[in-house]
Symmetry: none
Subunit: 219 residues, 4 copies
Amino acid sequence: MTDLPDNDLPHALLTGYRNFMSGRFANESLRYKELAEQGQTPETMVIACCDSRAAPEIIFDTRPGEIFVVRNVANLVPPYAPDGEYHSTSSALEFAVQSLKVKHIVVLGHGRCGGIKAALDSESVPLSPSDFIGKWMSLVAPAAETIAANTLMTSGERQTALERISIRYSIANLRSFPCVDILEKKGRLTLHGAWFDISTGELWVMDRKTGDFIRPSGE
Amino acid sequence: MTDLPDNDLPHALLTGYRNFMSGRFANESLRYKELAEQGQTPETMVIACCDSRAAPEIIFDTRPGEIFVVRNVANLVPPYAPDGEYHSTSSALEFAVQSLKVKHIVVLGHGRCGGIKAALDSESVPLSPSDFIGKWMSLVAPAAETIAANTLMTSGERQTALERISIRYSIANLRSFPCVDILEKKGRLTLHGAWFDISTGELWVMDRKTGDFIRPSGE
Amino acid sequence: MTDLPDNDLPHALLTGYRNFMSGRFANESLRYKELAEQGQTPETMVIACCDSRAAPEIIFDTRPGEIFVVRNVANLVPPYAPDGEYHSTSSALEFAVQSLKVKHIVVLGHGRCGGIKAALDSESVPLSPSDFIGKWMSLVAPAAETIAANTLMTSGERQTALERISIRYSIANLRSFPCVDILEKKGRLTLHGAWFDISTGELWVMDRKTGDFIRPSGE
Amino acid sequence: MTDLPDNDLPHALLTGYRNFMSGRFANESLRYKELAEQGQTPETMVIACCDSRAAPEIIFDTRPGEIFVVRNVANLVPPYAPDGEYHSTSSALEFAVQSLKVKHIVVLGHGRCGGIKAALDSESVPLSPSDFIGKWMSLVAPAAETIAANTLMTSGERQTALERISIRYSIANLRSFPCVDILEKKGRLTLHGAWFDISTGELWVMDRKTGDFIRPSGE
């Protein structure tokens, strides 16, 4: 089936792993050892997109142990639904808030998101009969329809608009979880939105009062 | 509620972002610009855990655009279930395979996994009434029960054993998706398992024939 | 009526004028003399807003003689209407294109525009019975209504969106003037859009192909 | 059509913008930020000409936020005409007086004005069939005819004479607006005329009692 030996990873990954071991791990081996023995205590949970260009550990240059990270297509948070089904994102949220007791949750969106683009394209055909991605992106369907209908904006502007709306939407959904709502009201949990521009590297942070995305002070 | 200005991220993240901009982004700005304009074309999808100590971009020292990453608690893949419900991981899988046409999928587990630990602890109480995490980890419940009952192994050995079993289990579930099954049989998609030891930095790769985890050649 | 002597300007303007004479004019007196004797030959016309924070000569740090500038509320260009009435902006356009033969026209918008804000606020009452400003801003009324109805966007996002849409609208109206249309098609006149962020100083330039506003290369 | 990339402004403007950012904006960034957040509160409105040699911000060396500026050909104010048509200058006037509540209005004319020159030249042919500029300058037609017929004055003297007459004429038209008339009578708004000599840099200020243009005291 493949030319690779049965126990080989793709070449690039193995090469990268060797760089990690001789570089970062060598420098931080004590920290890794401690993190292994004492467990993780991240202060921040990041909900990010699967996109290969928008890894939160890279954008925030974090150290091991610093951020607990969920990644799904378009960094979405479904509304609270205690229905006994499998909920990947809700499980991670519950674990981060109740077990790890994180103090911050950051929803990190980004420009040129393929999931958001699919949501805006009413003509897009399902990728497969099961159409998982279509159903998943239907989480933002009402907003997508409104924005898609706005032909006064360019397609680029519509895309950015929906990317930011969906971050605010995810933050609203976070608040539908009782544990999040209670802790936020007690001042023990803060919810953040951020949007990363792949092309320019600019990070835009959501103002918690207005919902606007602005450059962080000092940039 | 919080001492932070309304548009501020946690201090550590903003500091990290500035390091990223002056370091990595400055060095790779052309690559980011190209990735923005031409879109992402990662060859590999990685299914990893949310754990703050096991980010695949760090372990594999990847460049932007190189890997498409789903992260959920315990790097699980649920079985194929085209039931019209929201499926976070299945959506990402469908997007990676059908739209991005990745050539490799790596399920990356790791030691000291909190989700696996919870699955092994039959006495653990739900973190919240909705018990999302309990339901999510029930994906490996039969294996967890068998392993938990094996008092001949130490608790550390039981944990590692279940971590590795669950990787094999996720790979089996990957094959329950028709698109994965077909492409793997055509030799256009290769499935990999790997397990990262946080304490020592060691990477163990699953032998596709035997299922054993061994050190990659050259380590 | 006023405490000022009959021939005095506001104090700040006279002070500023003296700074001009001892500074800039002293340094550029030869250029002013030449410009007086030989007439102006600006290569660029700028259509800008009256706003006190967005003077094009400041933003583009231009020298005397460099840009021919129309300023009206919200930097609007009405559509071509050869009806024998007074048309302030159209007159200036005709003069710049036909007499001065400028090579570029830049429509320069900006953030926090009071005219655009008024257009978005359906509850705003006329400033006076004649309601000149209401009629003037009705030039962008259809777009304003569409954008105002989009409650998924924040008020700040709606404002920015309409500011940019109205720049594209003005550029489309420029092309309704036969002289502009002909010269642009001959490649002798180029139309530009730009948007200035008062708060950050950022200048965003309209991509002539897509209509998107992006940072100029090198910023 | 053009050699410029789709998103580039004329080279000179981009260079100037960079000078602005590294110079003036860097020095006044706090003031810009404040002006963005708190809005503009200019005390003075200036009605000036589009001429590239007579920007009021340069002549009065103003700071951002200091003057609200309308610019049209020959700095004209049409008479009050509440006819429901688009009125660019009247709209700006209404906005400045009623919304911004400026305390001063300055009509700033200048020497060698192309619009005034056209008005004096009875043989001039329309620049285009629509003849917007001809109609616009007809605002001063009666004065222009009288002055043009005065062959005892040189052409230079006729030009200066009409430039100054048209400033007085614009000020009279300002008073035809009820809001201006009322506020001026209440002493809350002062109307000024000024004339700038491009060649020498001299500023001449209109005496409110006599209408004469004289050098401001201290020059």
